[in-house]
């Protein structure tokens, strides 16, 4: 039974899943939509994602969308089956804290990082626009405040929850996109 992932390699959410699949030692097939219009087609909305987004994952006949839900599902089902990688701790309290750090990523870390990603990676490539310095400035200021908090959260720890987990994976792709230019942060 194959795992099929539909997405774009440059997309942060798609990359979250690819990293998770690799961490869990899972083989998969990767499919890129022919173009952006496909995502709004009747067929895509009915059979892939009702909100017209990628990524979409098929595990045999089972379909699931939303990158962090996909990663959690993969970890729940396959963790420990192909290798020893633990992405969601078995202990309820530790798992709760991983979940908490995932929520920090969604609500505090990702929004300013996305501002930077949209300006530095997408603006020129997709919209033929130069990065907007005002948005970049706002994104940097917001992100600095968040990273100040992460600095304290990481005191004495190698990873957000002590050991490597899903929470660290989720932060990686978009950070990677902007780190090259904004490593000072």
């Amino acid at each position: 039974m194959t795992i099929k992932l539909i997405g774009y390699l440059y997309s942060g959410p798609t990359m979250r899943i690819i990293i998770t699949l690799r961490e869990l030692g899972l083989p998969y097939e990767f499919e890129t939509p022919a173009n952006f219009e496909v995502l709004k087609s009747e067929d895509f909305l009915t059979n892939k994602n009702p909100f017209g987004k990628i990524p979409v994952l098929f595990d045999g006949e089972f379909r699931i969308v939303e990158s962090r839900s996909i990663c959690r599902y993969l970890a729940s089902k396959y963790q420990g089956k192909n290798n020893n990688m633990i992405l969601i701790p078995n202990d309820i309290h530790k798992a709760g804290l991983v979940d908490q750090f995932v929520s920090y990523e969604i609500f505090y870390y990702d929004p300013p990082v996305l501002k930077l990603v949209s300006q530095e990676v997408y603006a020129k490539k997709f919209w033929d626009k130069n990065p907007d310095p005002e948005i970049v400035k706002q994104g940097r200021e917001e992100l600095i405040k968040v990273l100040d908090i992460y600095e304290k959260l990481l005191e004495g720890k190698e990873y957000l929850n002590g050991e490597f987990s899903l929470a660290d994976i989720y932060h990686s792709p978009n950070t990677h996109h902007v780190y090259a230019k904004y490593s000072d942060l």
């Binding site: 939303e66 309820i92 798992a95 709760g96 804290l97 979940d99 304290k152």
Partner: protein
């Protein structure tokens, strides 16, 4: 070992956790912070929430923040212990889909909903600002598109994932506010959505929680 919840029940992320505690049959103590400003105190940031937010939950010595993470933790630990209510199915595929629907809520449903909550419930009473009609118009349009998708998702189903789950719970408190603030047409004009919302309103935990919140707002005016 007591469960302590720090927050304001009038703010719907706190209410999310309260409804979850009630659904699971868990006793708890609610501790409203001394003031909204106290959330920025060094002590609060060091010992409660590093981003200065509510709610925060203590289960004995264990501290956890972020309302949906708290709900998921409570469910993982206590589901089935005090009653039969299942908020996250045991089947890994069904649980995956509940998670997917929770992601829909935080990605698509809540952003326009929270704008309407702020404009209709909090702007005037707490910030002395009149509701902004342009913001309300845009938020209604966004939410209408999301509810069109939910109308299809709910075809032939009583709840988002078939049976009642955390996916339905997470959107109840915010929806209750906006529904009752003059925007009920958004739900009532879509038959599947309307029936689903009525079902949710008839759940004992929601009935009780919504009544308590109603009293809060009525007393606030006095």
């Amino acid at each position: 070992m007591t469960i302590r919840l720090i927050g304001y029940s009038a703010l719907y992320p706190t209410l999310r956790v309260i409804i979850c505690l009630k659904e699971l049959g868990l006793p708890y103590e609610l501790e409203p912070p001394a003031s909204y400003q106290s959330l920025k105190d060094e002590d609060y940031i060091a010992n409660k929430h590093p981003f200065g937010k509510i709610p925060v939950l203590f289960d004995g010595d264990f501290r956890i923040t972020e309302s949906r993470a708290i709900c998921r933790y409570l469910t993982s630990k206590y589901q089935g212990k005090h009653n039969d209510t299942i908020l996250i199915p045991n089947d890994v595929h069904k649980a995956g889909l509940v998670d997917q629907f929770i992601s829909y809520e935080l990605s698509y449903y809540d952003p326009p909903l929270s704008k309407l909550v702020y404009q209709e419930k909090f702007a005037k009473k707490f910030f002395n600002k009149d509701p902004d009609p342009e913001v309300i118009k845009q938020a209604r349009e966004e939410l209408a598109k999301v509810l069109d998708v939910y109308e299809k998702l709910l075809e032939g189903k009583e709840y988002l994932n078939g049976e009642y789950s955390l996916a339905d719970l997470v959107l109840c408190p915010g929806t209750n506010y906006v529904y009752g603030a003059g925007h009920s047409d958004l739900w009532d004009s879509r038959p599947n959505v309307k029936n689903w919302w009525n079902r949710l309103c008839n759940r004992d935990t929601n009935k009780k929680s919504f009544e308590e919140i109603k009293s809060f707002w009525e007393n606030l005016g006095k």
